[in-house]
């Protein structure tokens, strides 16, 4: 039985991140389960020059890009769905401070799968024949680019298809609904590409809305799509995806989604946002106060709450988690 892997968020960022690293998160859709709070902590610790791997943009990438902490990004979808364009990412891209390499929502998880399987390339029947293949922000002189998405000949039919570059990020910060102290994680809602990312990344840190006793994962082993053997550390952080949603836990905070995105549209707004919503809290309690009790109550009244019911009895209290975390030695 491996030891518990619970550590604090600040410790996780301190220990597993560095300037210039290839950092992955956002293996969730733009308004859903992403470890947004991990991005806040990256800014608090002044990380910069990040090469961001996000299947889709999320408010985390929007913030990192808007704040100038990410200088390269590889993405499928780069907006915020019904909340519109991602202003922080857009501003960074349009100004040239960030090079944004475009893929699609299928080619990104295929590249993660290729990394997970340690393939040298991944066959692609999509993205070819479009400017996703022909144009590269990382190799702008190449036209048509073939270092981004190459051509490979099918040895059986002789016809050409595309070849994608696999991804093996240095670190993945993955939001999950529930994790036990060892890092056996349960996701409610679509996995999007969190399964593939958890195997592709060199290291995985889970950011869990709640910690459950190991009895929960033994009752529902088929739900544990990220087993502890691929996990380096577990961070317990309620409302970790806020202002995005976490199915079973809380809805999207529409007001803050708009507020945040509006702030990120300008340098001034971004500074103010960082002052008020990134640097402002000291710990989890401060973070929860920042969201506000009324807002937490409002977004917790989610129609998806019933999805969490089977697991509630195993959720550990903050005190129990702190006790286990105090004894953890990952």
């Amino acid at each position: 039985m491996p030891p518990p892997k619970l550590i604090s968020l600040s410790e996780a960022v301190h220990r597993y991140t560095w300037d210039g690293m290839m950092y992955a998160s956002g293996a969730a859709l733009p308004i859903g389960s992403d470890a947004v709070v991990f991005g806040r902590e990256l800014l608090r610790q002044g990380r910069k020059d990040l090469h961001a791997i996000f299947h889709c943009n999320s408010q985390q990438l929007n913030l990192l890009a808007g704040a100038g902490a990410a200088t390269r990004a590889e993405c499928g979808f780069t907006g915020l769905e019904v909340f519109g364009f991602a202003n922080g990412l857009r501003r960074a891209t349009e100004s040239g401070r960030l090079a944004l390499e475009d893929y699609s929502n299928l080619s990104m998880p295929l590249r993660l799968l290729g990394g997970a399987l340690n393939w040298p390339f991944v066959p692609a029947t999509v993205n070819v024949g479009s400017d996703l293949q022909d144009r590269s922000a990382f190799a702008p002189e190449e036209y048509p680019s073939r270092s981004k998405i190459a051509a490979v000949t099918d040895p059986f039919s002789g016809r050409q298809i595309g070849a994608l570059r696999p991804l093996k990020p240095d670190l993945a910060a993955i939001h999950v609904t529930l994790s036990d102290p060892l890092g056996n994680a349960i996701m409610l809602g679509t996995e999007w590409s969190r399964f593939e990312l958890s195997r592709a990344a060199k290291r995985v840190v889970l950011v869990a809305d709640a910690i459950v006793d190991g009895g929960c994962v033994r009752q529902f082993p088929n739900l544990v799509r990220i087993p502890e053997i691929v996990v380096e550390a577990v961070v317990h952080w309620p409302f970790a995806a806020w202002p995005q949603s976490s199915p079973g836990m809380y809805d999207v905070d529409e007001e803050h989604m708009r507020f945040m995105n509006k702030a990120l549209a300008t340098a001034e707004g971004t500074s103010d946002y960082i002052r008020d919503f990134v640097s402002s809290y000291r710990d989890v309690e401060g973070y929860l106060d920042m969201i506000g009790a009324a807002k937490r109550e409002e977004i917790s009244k989610t129609a998806t709450a019933f999805l969490l019911d089977p697991y509630r009895r195993w959720i550990m209290s903050a005190e129990e988690v702190a006790r286990v975390q105090a004894g953890a030695t990952p």
Partner: protein, 268 residues
């Protein structure tokens, strides 16, 4: 049709209904958020009860609850799902594979061969060296995968001259590329765009050249208005016609799906 909306429905509603009419019962169909989701679920509510609706989120078996979802993973669509899997499953196994019958995508720009740009707006051509767009848009998302893999797909777009261009600056999602048989060069399993449904009417590709032509106009519009708002010399198909107005049943079904009135608030 003026903003006063004398017909009793908006242009956006007509566009959603015309798009929904393209979907057949029993088909496996993929929608995005917003307009395309409303069009799809309208079809399911009205004439295609066995339409198998999916989004690229790997969220299956659900219908939106409590209003238009904020995204394809939104709790409003997750709350009554029967299965959650992944993007790789939805876009790869079910769409990129050629299994999906029909998809609906949007566009910032679309050109005469149905190529779609959702990546950026440049001041003129990009040129031989890639440069950052003047206005960065939302990227290809899953639309490229739908454009490559779905048996056919529909493009929904507001009919404005700036959107209907001779040649898109950047192909985010391939239509018929240079026209004719050009898609065959890349071996796409999907058949390409079967219609561009706009706020004024419907364009369809010529069977040989694959150039989009005017197939039909909504009753509140006209061939002249559509030609004036299209950035290439739009041909008129021999059997071009007026689109039937929404029936009461269609409008009722659409408005049940669009319970928060997104399409009625839209300018139109």
């Amino acid at each position: 049709m003026s903003k006063a909306n004398p017909a009793g429905y908006t242009r956006q509603e007509m566009m959603a209904i015309a798009t929904g009419r393209e979907l057949r019962d029993g088909e496996l169909a993929i929608f995005g958020v917003g307009l395309s989701m409303l069009a799809g679920f309208f079809a399911q509510a009205h004439h295609a009860p066995n339409l198998r609706a999916m989004t690229e989120g790997g969220v299956y078996g659900s219908t939106p609850v409590g209003g238009l979802p904020w995204g394809i993973e939104c709790n409003r669509i997750s709350t009554n799902a029967t299965s959650f899997t992944s993007g790789l499953d939805a876009l790869g196994c079910l769409v990129g594979s050629g299994r999906c019958d029909v998809g609906i995508i949007g566009a910032a720009q679309v050109d005469r061969y149905g190529n779609v740009n959702t990546t950026g707006i440049w001041d003129g051509d990009i040129g031989p060296t890639y440069r950052t767009p003047k206005t960065r848009l939302t990227g290809a998302g899953g639309a490229n995968d739908i454009a490559c893999g779905a048996k056919h797909y529909l493009i929904m777009v507001a009919h404005e001259p700036k959107r209907f261009v001779d040649r898109v600056t950047y192909i985010s999602s391939p239509g018929y590329l240079d026209g004719g048989n050009a898609r065959a060069r890349f071996g796409f399993v999907g058949g390409g765009p079967s219609a561009i449904v706009t706020t004024m009417g419907i364009l369809r590709p010529h069977p040989d050249t694959r150039e989009f032509e005017l197939d039909a106009w909504f009753s509140f519009s006209s061939a002249e208005e559509i030609i004036a708002n299209t950035g290439w010399p739009l041909k008129i198909a021999p059997d071009a016609h007026v689109v039937a107005e929404p029936t009461d049943a269609e409008l009722a079904a659409l408005r049940t799906v669009d319970e928060t009135g997104a399409l009625r608030r839209a300018p139109g």
